[in-house]
Symmetry: D2
Subunit: 361 residues, 4 copies
Amino acid sequence: MTGFPLHSDGSNAADPWEVPVRVAVAGLGYWGPNLVRNLYENPSAELVRVCDLRPDQLAVLQGRYPGIARTTRFEDLLEDRSIEGIVVSTPVSTHYALALRALQAGKHVFVEKPIASSSEEAAELVEVADDKGLVLMPGHTFLYSPPVNAIRALIEAGELGDIYFISTSRVNLGLHQSDVSVAWDLGPHDFSILRYLLGETPTHVTALSRACVIPGTPDVAFINLEFASGTIAHVELSWLAPSKLRRTTIVGSRKMVVYDDTSNEPIRIFDSGASLPNPETFGEYKMTYRTGDILSPRIEVAEPLYLELDDFCASIRSKVQPRSSARLGLEVVRVVEAVDASLAQNGARVEVGGSAALTAV
Amino acid sequence: MTGFPLHSDGSNAADPWEVPVRVAVAGLGYWGPNLVRNLYENPSAELVRVCDLRPDQLAVLQGRYPGIARTTRFEDLLEDRSIEGIVVSTPVSTHYALALRALQAGKHVFVEKPIASSSEEAAELVEVADDKGLVLMPGHTFLYSPPVNAIRALIEAGELGDIYFISTSRVNLGLHQSDVSVAWDLGPHDFSILRYLLGETPTHVTALSRACVIPGTPDVAFINLEFASGTIAHVELSWLAPSKLRRTTIVGSRKMVVYDDTSNEPIRIFDSGASLPNPETFGEYKMTYRTGDILSPRIEVAEPLYLELDDFCASIRSKVQPRSSARLGLEVVRVVEAVDASLAQNGARVEVGGSAALTAV
Amino acid sequence: MTGFPLHSDGSNAADPWEVPVRVAVAGLGYWGPNLVRNLYENPSAELVRVCDLRPDQLAVLQGRYPGIARTTRFEDLLEDRSIEGIVVSTPVSTHYALALRALQAGKHVFVEKPIASSSEEAAELVEVADDKGLVLMPGHTFLYSPPVNAIRALIEAGELGDIYFISTSRVNLGLHQSDVSVAWDLGPHDFSILRYLLGETPTHVTALSRACVIPGTPDVAFINLEFASGTIAHVELSWLAPSKLRRTTIVGSRKMVVYDDTSNEPIRIFDSGASLPNPETFGEYKMTYRTGDILSPRIEVAEPLYLELDDFCASIRSKVQPRSSARLGLEVVRVVEAVDASLAQNGARVEVGGSAALTAV
Amino acid sequence: MTGFPLHSDGSNAADPWEVPVRVAVAGLGYWGPNLVRNLYENPSAELVRVCDLRPDQLAVLQGRYPGIARTTRFEDLLEDRSIEGIVVSTPVSTHYALALRALQAGKHVFVEKPIASSSEEAAELVEVADDKGLVLMPGHTFLYSPPVNAIRALIEAGELGDIYFISTSRVNLGLHQSDVSVAWDLGPHDFSILRYLLGETPTHVTALSRACVIPGTPDVAFINLEFASGTIAHVELSWLAPSKLRRTTIVGSRKMVVYDDTSNEPIRIFDSGASLPNPETFGEYKMTYRTGDILSPRIEVAEPLYLELDDFCASIRSKVQPRSSARLGLEVVRVVEAVDASLAQNGARVEVGGSAALTAV
């Protein structure tokens, strides 16, 4: 363990008087240009170089950002002593190797989710970063989403009571990935959100999946999760769906919340519930149902990716762990691995490896 | 096996010139009055007597239907030789005993879902009914729902292609049952619909459940189902929800359907899909996505319960099995039992008992 | 003017110890059976007789309510000295004559909206009722609708601020009336609601209409209304529409409300608005927009028709004007007449006759 | 009249082998950057210069498009002989003067809607453009919207039958304009759409409006329109609304369409209607209602602004009038003027000036 303090609950507020963090971006595929744009516009960062193996991808970027240096050699980033942080946005299979080399070169690292292809690799990255006192931050963007943070605040304030269960659907038509399953592709979003909302990682996982279109690449998954607190959750993931759904229902003992990330009213709070006034006299069983007001609170409009990269820069300057911490990223990988293990055993119930030890992070 | 022919695919059309079937209703609780009203209005039936242990329930009915005889003794129905069929709408725990006595007394029996509390009981009822050549019909009302039948017609016509997966949510705030879990209460609806749509019973079940409000009575369940054809399904059931959902998504290889039983447009057909034009050259992986028209077909407005009771009467007269057959009811009980078995084993994957042998019914 | 006090703001609360009001219903067409059912179930009323010219309509009712006397002669109601109130639910063209005869026979009168076919007739009815100290109540059911009353409470409490404008749509496919235009058929609903919400009757009306299907019977109308307070309103009415809309938007200086009578959340309160912080320095024009929370308050579930007939009975006993007063009914007729006048003059702007003198009622 | 042929029904297809049209943009306020971006990306155009009086606006653009020359002098555009077309995106009050100077300098002109502040000015521009054989194109972007064109195709094919009426709402919270009313700001959108869909300009207008927030600047308007064909329409415009609405209902004698520009399913076609099978025997009045399928056709995704500017370039090369023709722009201004005239006369019914003569364009 390094001298890093535990991360504060809020995001690290970037001090505008700080010297901007000099960063480079590696990987200009589907997501990379979004990272480039946000770093370019963020005064906390100074984007000095971009890297991609494909010259044509670099050329595209040159048109928009002629002032940014380009290279096809990742080593150029490592060797440039002026670069403080490297943002890795390459295929999942390369995350581990590139992040490791960057850390070994003394760079702070932001790496797109999942942080690595296995928990073993992820744990090694965490260890190296700790040893070297470097920031290692996975790109769990939803931890910076205003609706997600509004729900977390409700839960922390006790507004929802105990969380009975959560049911979530993240489905859409496309985009099939050729190298990973839908659980690896979309699962990290929900697993990181659940971890952030509930403050715990599931202990057990059961999953059912099917490779409908591409043989060997599951494109739909039904995943059941159990938490130590008693909360249960279901996560439905799919690249095959009639329409886009980003819907999460959170049922608490006091109130319920529906979070629909595609809606103009992303959060709706239902002051509804059921209770058993006198459970001991159960023979005189009499439920009480309450249906009250429904509130759509005003949610701040902000780009999560901007806030996320801001937290990366602030973390480097402040030495405080980012909200999307490397350990959270490791836990997420462990959940995805448990999903894979369950699928490999025909849907058996699988324990999430060593999660108990990590929930205190 | 009796001389009953296999049931025709359509419902048995009641011949208006037939003599109405003389029926009695036992059980005037929450659902019974709906059965009474529908039998009263159906010219294929002649409702001659109602039975309930509670005189006040009988009195309520007398106000509305003064011409119908009443009794608190079930035996009165059995002993009345003019009564041909008995409609059982009592608590689930009494279904088996009352249905058995009615069959033994030579009466045709309609019994609310689930047909019995265990597959052993259900199988015995099926056998007795077969032996005696009597109609035994469970009340799986959704088999008579116009939207469900419209979807079945689409599937049978091949419009949807192969059914990749089905995801369904049946949640609402209330009504907690004191004697059964949410899986026994709501599950039979979805399990009978899936059986009817797919023509097969699941082979394996995995379930996760929680008793949130009443200790010992699970009020939320996440159920994963596997079918021999390769289709997979997820069924979410709950008595705790911010708002009523009756939503089923069916994803086929050619089209997709969303069935929302609470909507004015209960069925929406999406001419959308994904395909892999040349799967053999997988290295040259290139998915094709298609997003086409969306159609909300006009759905006939009809009360499923009326059609269901009509089928009961017609089945008695025609000696043709009703669409909601006793064997289908037995299969449904087997699935619920498998859910219970999975829950008892901490969510283990459980084989649905003997389902393979019954799918040909 | 009789000794009737002005009506209290709330509805007249029926005292359960009062002797039930003996009433009769005349007219058993489309709406009459609803009146019969509600009177039958209301302990404040004793429905003693029903009247219709068509024996078959009477026969239908006999099946459901065998204890209620029937007649084809309206005179039988007038001559029955035990009858205190007559509920008139006949075609609009007969409202005036039947209500007048009932009042002259000393009966309290509830008459379906509109109270009469012309303001001249309506005014005469008001005068006769006043002279005789009888209740004359038009059936403006929406004045008893829980959502409408919730909105009125918001306005009265100043929650919405000044009412800038109201826009409302009441459209559906059907049912074309053969004897009246859509403005006479549907207009009274919105005109009575606006009168109730705003506490004033419009001063001027402009209308555009078209008889699309039945020559001479307008089935769509666009009606603009001006009020003395400065509020403006638009009312869209139609029997031709792709789907049912019952949507009213109320824009106030502080908040805005959307009232959708077809929704599970009939009222949505938007804490949104625009303001001009410093209007005097208009050259430095700088608008401020505020978009805040959205609230769907819990609305009591109650049948407006029941509450309305309850108010009729209570008014008879208490001698307090019903919420849906005869003068309000007269004002509504004046607005519809102004619509007709505007249409007769090719859409000219028309003053609502004498409305100013009546707004203090 | 010049040698311009009448415009073809489809858009002018830009020939990729043509030399790109050299254009300049004047006015870099709210909308100008969108024009710049689209021209920059369109191979049919070569954006050579931008002009704005404010150096800081020019500086902003320099960051994004360093290769484009800049000037604060409009004269620079006029004097640059290499510039063929000028795109005017300045405040409405300057449209006439700038467009006129550009035409007089021999430039083709694209000018944002409305084409001018009065029909007199607009007519003069049309005349000058005709005299000089130059393209004069107002920016009625919705004429290039895929949903609008899909509806127009339905109408032209007779799918909807006769158009009975159209009701449309274009409301939102903001943005109040300081120099023009909501009718001048938003009205041109709907008036141009109606003109394009119906092929005719309204003959008469009645309007009701109110300046709720800024004294003297109406921010809500209810506008009734009559067409020679018998079609009627209502247009609701407002900068004050609880939520954004872009909803148009088109009721035809055969089918109905709802066009919601904010929806993923912008067009919904309802196979519904009402008819009077035997109108001559009206005494035997019997309406027939039909409620059939609802279809959401797949609508091509394309940016209307891109297509619009493409049509501008193509029109310059082909000498064929653009779909958004100057005459259509003139008619739109005449309708807005009629709205103003109606408002000035307290909502009187006003004839749209000379519209009859122009509908054949």
